[in-house]
Symmetry: C2
Subunit: 174 residues, 2 copies
């Protein structure tokens, strides 16, 4: 992957984290990376292509991060809660899949499909790590919702308040 393609994905990711699919334009991305909007189209023909690849990359990256941390700490919930905590306290504050998932009904097919894939990956991995299906559903909802509520209240500490149980507990293991 060329440097420019990566830079475009980075810029799009940042803007999607703030405003979702409607929250970025080819011209804005172009300014961010220092080229013209038509050149962004060269790398990603349509807006749908670009957004879908941002989500795909995020999913794969998250999956890898979780695997790496789970190898070091067998408490799956703590691993997940810590991983998303990084997002809550990052500059962007939000996970692109969460903001896109909330407006999933208004998304181009390819983007909606990638977002769906992200949440499926989360649930499947949690079950593989030992959680029951219901437990994984409830837990995933909690950490995703914590991201939304913290963002809405403009208070990252709110994420900690909502996830104390999982980040601290030594018992309720994977």
């Amino acid at each position: 992957m060329s440097d420019m393609k990566t830079a475009i994905l980075d810029a799009a990711e940042r803007r999607i984290q703030a405003g979702g699919f409607g929250g970025f334009s080819f011209r804005e991305i172009a300014e961010d990376v220092g080229i013209k909007s038509s050149s962004v189209h060269y790398h990603f023909p349509t807006k749908e292509d670009l957004a879908a690849e941002v989500v795909r990359r995020w999913t794969d990256r998250t999956s890898g991060n979780i695997d790496r941390e789970f190898a070091k700490d067998p408490n799956a919930k703590r691993v997940w809660a810590k991983a998303l905590r990084g997002t809550a306290f990052s500059k962007a504050h939000m996970c692109p899949c969460t903001i896109l998932g909330a407006s999933s009904q208004d998304l181009p097919k390819a983007v909606a499909a990638e977002v769906k894939r992200f949440f499926k990956m989360c649930q499947d991995k949690m079950v593989a790590q030992g959680m029951s299906a219901d437990d994984a559903s409830e837990f995933l909802s909690t950490i995703i919702g914590a991201l939304v509520v913290a963002n809405a209240l403009r208070d990252s500490a709110e994420y900690d308040r909502a996830t104390t149980t999982f980040r601290v507990a030594e018992k309720s293991a994977a």
Copy 2:
């Protein structure tokens, strides 16, 4: 409140539930209610005004619904879980405050403030109903997140999976 003003709020609410703040235009709303876009501006001067009032109404409505149901059932979590379940299984599938909360960083001030007010209302009411602050934070995150995940997976039943604990349990009372 005039019938037309209510109809405009209804239309805007529906469209916000699907696509957030960027998911509706004055022209679309105008078509929905059968007038011209300039006439929508007569009732709500700016897009910010309209969106803010949609959220304000949703907050007040939700607050009233919860109070009414809590008077009939003293189990606060069951009351909240059932109330949001109605949203998850509605045609719109989403709560406007949730979709707007996820993109809160990109919202006009007045809208962001109203969204913040919604989540504050939820937490304050939960605490007033007997939950601890941390418990309220975690529980609110769970039901909000369940809405997002169910929407992204295009499967309302996912909301039930994530909230079984609260909707069924007779014990973990308010």
